[in-house]
Symmetry: C2
Subunit: 238 residues, 2 copies
């Protein structure tokens, strides 16, 4: 069984602006091109890594869609994030040399495998890469801060609105329609991420539909009134 090991170069990857620092010299670019050891294909439903597995690499999503989820010993299950093209998976593994969550593909996907030792080695030579790595980790910390605000102080409508707006913006940044898209995750997965039950997610979708903010058909979403949704997100419905 052959692994998918096409030789790849970040320097001519169409996701470069998302993944890589800008303004590198040719020599630096050549060094950074050595970051990606290989590409790996992951089938829908398969895991990129599991909790407890040895950490060795970070992964950049090239195509497809992932979720990361924690499974605690007492059976609680929590989705901690959804990742799409250009986003980095695996940062949780650095601290203890083991992954602390599962990363599962929600559709057939392809990732760039970047051995972490190589990242550290090249970072020591290329200051721009070093800073870029720091930024990526900081961004993840800030993202989680805002998720904590969501989980700590928003009601069901605010949570779902915030989620949809965030998804819409990320799709837009990747050249997809920000107003019409297909959800890759189930109601239960959305609920786990947002700290609510799947029934409440479903009810809230219905409520948005009645308010003419959305059209929902199972996993197909069309945003009708982005402003209204933004108001719902900010808790100023009335």
């Amino acid at each position: 069984m052959l692994k998918d090991t096409i030789k790849v170069a970040c320097s001519n990857c169409n996701l470069r602006e998302l993944c890589m620092p800008v303004g590198l010299s040719d020599a630096e670019l050549a060094r950074v091109d050595e970051l990606v050891a290989q590409r790996r294909s992951i089938k829908r439903g398969q895991a990129l890594f599991h909790t407890g597995e040895k950490f060795s690499s970070l992964f950049a999503v090239r195509t497809g869609f992932f979720k990361t989820c924690l499974t605690t010993e007492d059976g609680r299950d929590q989705v901690t994030g959804f990742q799409m093209a250009g986003e980095i998976i695996g940062l949780d593994g650095i601290v203890n040399d083991r992954h602390t969550c599962d990363a599962v593909a929600l559709e057939d996907a392809e990732v760039c495998v970047m051995p972490f030792e190589r990242i550290e080695e090249i970072s020591r030579e290329v200051g721009a890469l070093q800073h870029h790595v720091h930024k990526i980790m900081s961004r993840e910390i800030v993202r989680e801060h805002s998720l904590m605000t969501l989980l700590g102080s928003m009601n069901a409508e605010e949570r779902l609105a915030a989620f949809l707006i965030n998804l819409s913006q990320r799709l837009k940044a990747r050249g997809y329609s920000p107003s019409e898209f297909h959800l890759r995750m189930s109601r239960a997965e959305i609920g786990s991420y947002l700290g609510m039950k799947l029934e409440t997610v479903s009810r809230t979708f219905s409520a948005f539909q009645q308010q003419r903010l959305l059209e929902v058909d199972k996993r197909h979403i069309r945003i009708l009134d982005l402003e209204g949704l933004t108001r719902a997100f900010q808790g100023q419905v009335h």
Copy 2:
């Protein structure tokens, strides 16, 4: 008004095992000693930095106790963490060169100021420091993951139990009593951190007291039954 700018060395700081990588050579230690530009004293209630302020340094808590809190434009307020001796504050500022939260001293405190440019510079020379910085950021990401699980799926008793156990462990690691301590934060701040209202925090303290798990007198806490508290945390009260 003179700033407190005593020259300091990490190499003989008693918090070294908490802050710094281990196993450095003498030459590396000397380099790492250059990390801390100065110390800064912060009075109780004062901010180490505010949201929007330019980011330039990370801060290591030497003494005292901090909270970090987000204030969103729509007036929501969320405590995102409490930091004690040996912990690092300011990681949120890296990504956009501006701080995205306030860091406020909950008691008179002293911090080591580490200019981030200097951290990056020395990291490029000392691989152990580089890896240490990565670990600190990864640890923060993992901490926030577990807080998300707490906020997403735990009830009031589980949340407060988890909070107290975590606090107890961190105090223990610093040589303080793990079973008897003084809370530096108000019920409202605990509530904000744990995603519940201050009244619920107060009621849950009372409930734990009735269950003989704790003795509570305002902010003075004595843990009577750590096992019981751990069971409460894991949601196996019955």
